[in-house]
Amino acid sequence: GDNAGGTSGDDASTGTSTGPVTLKDGSKVKLALVPGGAHPYFQPWKTTAAQDKTEFKLADATFNETGEWDQGKQNNVLNSLAAQGYNAFGIFGVSPTDINSTFEDLKAKGFAVGSLASCPAGDTNSADFCLSTDVEAAAYKAAKAAIEAMGGEGGLVHLTGNNVDSNTQRRIAGVRKAIAETNGKVTELSVITDIDEDLQTAQKAVADLLASKGKDIKGIVTTAYNPAVAAADGVASSKLPIKVVAIDDDAKILAGIKSGGVAATVAQNPVGQAYVGGWLLALLGSKQCTMKTPGVTVDSGSFIVTKANVDSYDTERKAKTVELQKEFAAQLSCQ
């Protein structure tokens, strides 16, 4: 995945399988998709959970975002769901450094567990599998897109979220990697962290940034939601010739792409995560299949969206989803 501009990120794909495994009996599986808390990114999971339920004929499928970005609360939610009979869990762990413990607990009780949209920090994944955007790769792509939009030179600013989250550290690394590849033509002016908590903080940070350094900035890459919204808006109203590359494909950001305020965005694949994840968890939960290598990590793909492909990137994403299914089929050993 080292060429930006609309090709599917299939670097992790082994792509040798023939087709998806069909689920025989999903009626014993109660699937729970549990994000870390409320966030627009996860909204597609809600509808996909319902789709999983009907398509795979599951006993139940639920979406529960009451964890409120607190690992303790999320653990509670998971336990409560387990107590209510849910036996297959697709989880976005609030704290990447803690979530393996949670996975271990659930695994110990015999549940099928998938790490969705984020992998645990470190080298081990205690869940059955991890299906997630490779955050470093996505940030790398985004930075590449920004550099391209900037014309390959100038100052770049990186706006992101919670500094002490290991995913943030990976994003920072991804952006730095892309900048390093320009051999000094592009410089990282600053990395602004901890502005994803709320929209106003992000907006204020962007405005201050533009006021103090606006002239030196050629591009802004954001790898968190609120800063993306704020940057798109701030740059548009300041009328500075700054290229903004955002993250995710929330309606607000897509509108920005269409109007030209946002140069590009990196879309991820939440639907694919929830759909393929649900399918996998149903297979594992019904004991039809097991993972050949437990804990395997697969990139769910990230897609550069520009004005050019804003109407078509979803097709590409759907293709990736189908591909993911095949890819996993090769990882399974089924009865």
Partner: protein, 361 residues
Amino acid sequence: MSAPVSETATAALQEPDAPVEAPQGGRTPWWANQRIGLLILVVALSALFGVLRPAFFNQQLVVFPLLRDIAMFTVVGLAQLCVLSIGHMNLAVGRMAAFSMMITGISYDLWHFSLYAGLLVGLVAGAAIGALAGWVIARTGVNSFVVTLALDFLLLGLIPLVYTALTDNAAFVTKPPGMRELRNYSLGDVCIGNVCGSPAVPQLTLFAVIAMAVVGWIYSRTKLGRELLMTGTSVKAAELSGIPTARRVITAHAMSGCLAALAGFMLAVSTGSIKATIGEEFMLPSFLGPILGGTLLAGGFISVWGTLLGTALTSVIRKGLDLLGVGLESLNIYLGLILLVALSTDRIRTVLSDRQGVRKR
């Protein structure tokens, strides 16, 4: 001069025909007692949730984590209670927990300490940072709210700097032997002969029990506890009665820091790793438990049992709503409303008991 007052003076001071002044508030009926009210509420709500969702009594999946939570937040509450006892506040409880766990994490990661040695280091660090807050307050006379708020910001800045400097993932992932076990072990794993404890009770609760016992003992039995409460009731009167109020302020904050560290440790053990964000969610629960339980914000009165019950009440409500499958759209609405209704009944009980008291005459 063992009895400086002579018979004549004593006789003069007696007022044989004066009626004994009635203790007001001391004669409330049992059902108006706030703690008993809370206990009844907790039990009633548990029963209600149990009836609606029998899974509520699932030992492994519900009771065990619930008790672990209650234990941890009780310790958080006790950390706040220590400063509330002198009429102060500690807005940095969470950050003090994060700070001491950072030290504990360093001790595991860099110095390869054992589980309990690291805990001890953390407790000392917590006590030290608390004492620092207390010292600033005592020396300058600046309001504790301001000092701990500022300290909170200071630590909020300091902690990530240290974490990013020392670790890759902004967390200490080294786990000393025993930490993993402590997370899941219950009293079921503690056996004397053939008799084992309940598998529904996590071993972590023992920390809370010890903390409650120590804090309870200090406040009910020792000179220190009494002096803290007197300082909380009236600093002026305490100073003029020979209580070293400045030192007591420092002690109270040090105790608070130490308990915050313990809570941070319990959180680290129960979620898995020692990270910078430990304690972020501590502040509101730290007040909620003690205050629901009857501890006064103004100082001078505390209740250790009340803190446990207050914490239990909120945890039980949350757990019950979780089990009822209440989504985020409604969860907070119900949580807030139940809290308000529960507390209003408390108020109604007090009013009723006052009325009854009057009618009896």
